[in-house]
C-alpha cells in the first residue's frame, strides 16, 4: 500500500537537496530538475517497495542519475528544457566559485564526476559510493583520484588532498 503522506514528506524534505546534487552531476539546472522529478515519479510508482528501502533518497538519486545519462532521455530533456527555459543560462545567479567548479566538473568523465559529487557533496564514503554505483571500491578510488587530477588544471588552484 503506497502511503501518499510519507511520500509527500520524503519528497518535500529531499527534493531541493537532490536537485543540487544532480545539478553538480549534470551541470544543467533544467536537466537536474527534470531528472529528479522523473525519479520521484518512478519512486511513487513503486513507493510501497522504495519506502521500505534503507535509503530511499539514494534510490531516487541513482535513478535520477541514470535518467540523466540516458541518451534518449538526454535529447528529450534538452528539447523540453529548451522549450521551457530557452537557452540555458541558469548559472547566472549562482556563486562564481560554484559555477567554476560545476563548469570544471562537466569537463571530466561522467563516472569521475559522479564519484566526486557523491564523495564531496553527498558525503558518501568510498564503500558507499561503490554500493550506490555498483562499481568496485578500487574503481571508485581510482575515479576519485583521476578526477582530482583531471580537475586540477581546470580550477585555478587545482584540488589537493588534505593532509
Amino acid at each position: 500500500m503506497r502511503d501518499p503522506r510519507s511520500f509527500d514528506a520524503f519528497y518535500t524534505g529531499s527534493v531541493r537537496r537532490l536537485v543540487g546534487q544532480l545539478h553538480a552531476m549534470t551541470g544543467s539546472r533544467a536537466e537536474a530538475e527534470d531528472c529528479v522529478q522523473e525519479a520521484y515519479a518512478r519512486a511513487w510508482q513503486r513507493w510501497d517497495k522504495v519506502s521500505g528501502y534503507g535509503d530511499p533518497e539514494a534510490w531516487v538519486r541513482t535513478v535520477a542519475y541514470r535518467v540523466s545519462i540516458s541518451s534518449w532521455r538526454k535529447a528529450a530533456n534538452m528539447r523540453a528544457a529548451h522549450r521551457r527555459h530557452g537557452v540555458p543560462d541558469d548559472n547566472r545567479a549562482l556563486n562564481p566559485d560554484y559555477v567554476a567548479i560545476v563548469t570544471a566538473l562537466r569537463k571530466v568523465s561522467a563516472s569521475q564526476r559522479q564519484a566526486i559529487v557523491l564523495h564531496h557533496l553527498v558525503g558518501l564514503s568510498v564503500e558507499e559510493i561503490a554500493r550506490e554505483t555498483g562499481a568496485a571500491a578500487g574503481t571508485v578510488k581510482a575515479r576519485l583520484s583521476r578526477g582530482r587530477q583531471a580537475l586540477a588544471p581546470l580550477l585555478d588552484e587545482g584540488v589537493h588532498c588534505d593532509a
Binding site: Y98, H120, V159, H160
Partner: protein
C-alpha cells in the same frame, strides 16, 4: 584549492541552487508516477500480447473500462463489443466499478478496476482466508472469512469503512443476488482445498468421517436462521471433499459448489445445489452426483479434466477454471479460464492459465469477469483478460 575548501564551495553552491529551486507540488509528482504506472501496465500487456505470453496465460489488448456497458455475456467473442475509452489516451474514470480484495499482507482494500490502484483500505490487518470475499448486491457490505486458530468466522465491514463485525462461524461467504441470504461453508478447519487441517478439535474425528464435516449453510441475514446442507448420509466416505468456492445463480435459488480435491487428486468438480429443493449437497464424482455435477466436455481429455473452480455469470452461464489432469502423480498440462453453459459446453475461452499457478477467486459482474492467477488480479470483459494489479489472495467485484 584544498580538498576541504573544494568540498565546502561545492556544498555551498549546491545548497544555494537547491534553495532557489521551486519544486512541483508532490501531488503532481504522484500523478506523474500514477500515469507511468498505468502506462507500464498497458505496455507490458501489449508486449505480452505481441509475444503471446501474457500473465495468467493471456495478454490484454482490450482497453475497455469495466465502467462501460459490456456486450451480453453469452456468446460474446474476443472481438465483440465496441472499443471504449483507452486509459492511454484518457485518464481512467474514478467512477469505474471497484474491486475489493484481500492483500497478501492481510489488508482488505478497495481497488480501481481500471488502474488497479487502491482507493481505500477497509481493514488494515486481518487473518483473512484467501479466495473468500464477497460483496452485497447493494455494494454496501463486504463479507470475508477470518481464521483465528481453529475458529473460522465470517465477518462483515461496510464498504464505506467501519469496524468489522462477526456474522457467523464458517468460511467462503457468498451473498445471494437479492442480498437477503449468505451462503457459506462450515468445515473442519481452514479454507480451500489445500488448507484442510486436522489439528483442531473434532476435525480429525475418524468416526465422524471427514466428508460429513463439510456443510453448505445458507443463513437468512435478517433473522439469522440457517439451513444446513450436508453431504448425503449414504454417500459419506472416509475422505474429505473440501469445498473451495460458492456462487449464487442469478435466480437466487441455486448454488454452484466448487469441490475438491479428494484423495489422490480426484473428486474435483462443480456441483449444483438447489437450495429450495435439495437436502444435501453432493460432491462431484459420487454416484448420486450425476444429476447435480456440471459435466466436463471438450479437450483435452475430458475424462481426466476437471473444474478447479466455477461461478455463475449473470446470464446464467458459468465462468470456470478447467484443468487437466486429475489423479496422481499430480501433473497439470492444461489450465483454461472458460465461459461455459450449464451443459459444460464452451461458450468462449477467456484466458489460458499458467499450468504452474492456481487460478481462483473467480467472480462475475455484468459482462465482466475477474480471477486471480496466483496473486495477480486479472479482469476480462468482451476482450482478452488483462492484469490489473498483484499481491492479492482474494478479490470480488463491488456492484
Amino acid at each position: 584549492m584544498r580538498e576541504n575548501e573544494f568540498r565546502a564551495r561545492l556544498r555551498a553552491g549546491a545548497a544555494e541552487l537547491g534553495a532557489s529551486v521551486n519544486p512541483s507540488e508532490p501531488e503532481l509528482i504522484r500523478r506523474r508516477g500514477d500515469r507511468r504506472r498505468h502506462r507500464t501496465m498497458i505496455t507490458s500487456g501489449v508486449l505480452a500480447f505481441a509475444v503471446g505470453a501474457g500473465g495468467g496465460g493471456v495478454a490484454y489488448a482490450s482497453l475497455a473500462q469495466p465502467g462501460q456497458p459490456a456486450s451480453p455475456a453469452s456468446g460474446h467473442s474476443a472481438t465483440a463489443g465496441p472499443p471504449t475509452a483507452s486509459p492511454a489516451s484518457a485518464p481512467p474514470s474514478d467512477s469505474a466499478p471497484s474491486i475489493v480484495g484481500v492483500t497478501t499482507g492481510g489488508a482488505i482494500q478497495v481497488f480501481s478496476s481500471v488502474t488497479g490502484l487502491a482507493r481505500t483500505t477497509l481493514v488494515q490487518k486481518t487473518d483473512a482466508i484467501g479466495d473468500a470475499i464477497a460483496v452485497s448486491p447493494s455494494g454496501a457490505t463486504v463479507y470475508f472469512a477470518v481464521k483465528r486458530g481453529c475458529a473460522d468466522s465470517i465477518e462483515s465491514v461496510p464498504v464505506s469503512g467501519g469496524t468489522p463485525a462477526v456474522v457467523t462461524s464458517g468460511v467462503l461467504p457468498a451473498v445471494s443476488p437479492d442480498g437477503t441470504r449468505l451462503a457459506f461453508v462450515r468445515e473442519p478447519s481452514g479454507g480451500g482445498p489445500s488448507a484442510v487441517q486436522y489439528g483442531c478439535p473434532g476435525s480429525g474425528d475418524a468416526t465422524a468421517k471427514p466428508s460429513a464435516l463439510y456443510h453448505v449453510v445458507v443463513r437468512d441475514l435478517a433473522t439469522g436462521q440457517e439451513t444446513v446442507y450436508p453431504a448425503p448420509p449414504d454417500e459419506i466416505a472416509g475422505m474429505p471433499y473440501a469445498i473451495s468456492h460458492l456462487s449464487w445463480a442469478p435466480s437466487g435459488q441455486t448454488l454452484l459448489v466448487s469441490v475438491g480435491p479428494g484423495q489422490g487428486n480426484g473428486g474435483w468438480g462443480l456441483s449444483v445445489l438447489d437450495t429450495a429443493t435439495s437436502r444435501y449437497y453432493v460432491p462431484p464424482g459420487w454416484p448420486a452426483a450425476s444429476a447435480a455435477a456440471v459435466p466436463v466436455t471438450g479437450s483435452p481429455d475430458a475424462a481426466r479434466s476437471y473444474y478447479r473452480e466455477g461461478v455463475f455469470t449473470p446470464d446464467g452461464g458459468m465462468f470456470v477454471n478447467r484443468m487437466c489432469c486429475d489423479g496422481v502423480p499430480v501433473r497439470v498440462t492444461s489450465s483454461k479460464l472458460l465461459k461455459i453453459n450449464s451443459a459444460g459446453q464452451q461458450i468462449r475461452q477467456v484466458a489460458i492459465g499458467f499450468t504452474d499457478r492456481d487460478h481462483s477467486s473467480l467472480d462475475a459482474y455484468g459482462g465482466w469477469l475477474l480471477y486471480l492467477s496466483a496473486h495477480d488480479l486479472f479482469i476480462a470483459g468482451p476482450g482478452p483478460a488483462r492484469k490489473i494489479t498483484t499481491g492479492l489472495i482474494a478479490a470480488a467485484w463491488v456492484p
